[in-house]
Symmetry: C2
Subunit: 160 residues, 2 copies
Amino acid sequence: MNRNTQTSVEADPSLPVIRMTRDFAATPERLLRAHTDPALFVRWVGPDATSSRIEHWDARTGGSWRYVSVHDGVEYGFHGCFHEVRPDRIVQTFTFEGDPDGVALETLWFEDLGDGRTRLRAQSLVDSFESRDAWLRSGMETGVDEGYAKLDRMLADGAV
Amino acid sequence: MNRNTQTSVEADPSLPVIRMTRDFAATPERLLRAHTDPALFVRWVGPDATSSRIEHWDARTGGSWRYVSVHDGVEYGFHGCFHEVRPDRIVQTFTFEGDPDGVALETLWFEDLGDGRTRLRAQSLVDSFESRDAWLRSGMETGVDEGYAKLDRMLADGAV
């Protein structure tokens, strides 16, 4: 039953876009909750070696968010606004505060696979190929893989 | 003194981006106010043949906005969130509600030209060339030109 629990990460050949696809053993409702409830989100986001805390969180259309991740005692801040939160989609902006002028437009789609599983498709759009490729070189895949593995365990043990 | 009061609008050849440049006879502070004060913004935004009203407006980092433009009795809604509002830059999302799944990431830069004038540079980023080209074909330039001409008059008569 562990089909497609690897995260597919790909760079678009003609757009400054990163796309990710990952299946989860959860309904769209539960997977959305894991992305919008700050007490849940903070438990799974990021690589294993970091811990995160929510500084601000208002997960509704027109709201905004900020969290800080701590790795080896160093704090890394992230913030953005929620353009739209609806049952099948989240659209939000994303800035890593180490690059304060950089902004990505992120879209997450929650696709019901009809068997209690949900396919998460995520797209991150930036305004240059250089920025996109820097993200791909940053080791983001480790954080994504480890974060989603934590989320898998939370879904399995009923934490969500 | 009316140099560069035409709006330059161009499509990037390799990114799904529209860029606009326009000079105004105002300091960056006044030009920013014209974009963030809802009572001012609503007086100049859009083509001459429309009138607009603010439905929601919170022009600060993490805030959001919505306005409705009326043309020949038909209402057109627009909304988004403010990723960042700072003296030299506004970053926001933008959806025309006639295309509710479409989203643009817009950045406005206010560049002080040092002689009481300010150069506005605006960039609109979407996730496909088809969407970008549809915007260019939509007649947006008329709305932009007429709106900025209204803003010129408001700056000249001291309304801002």
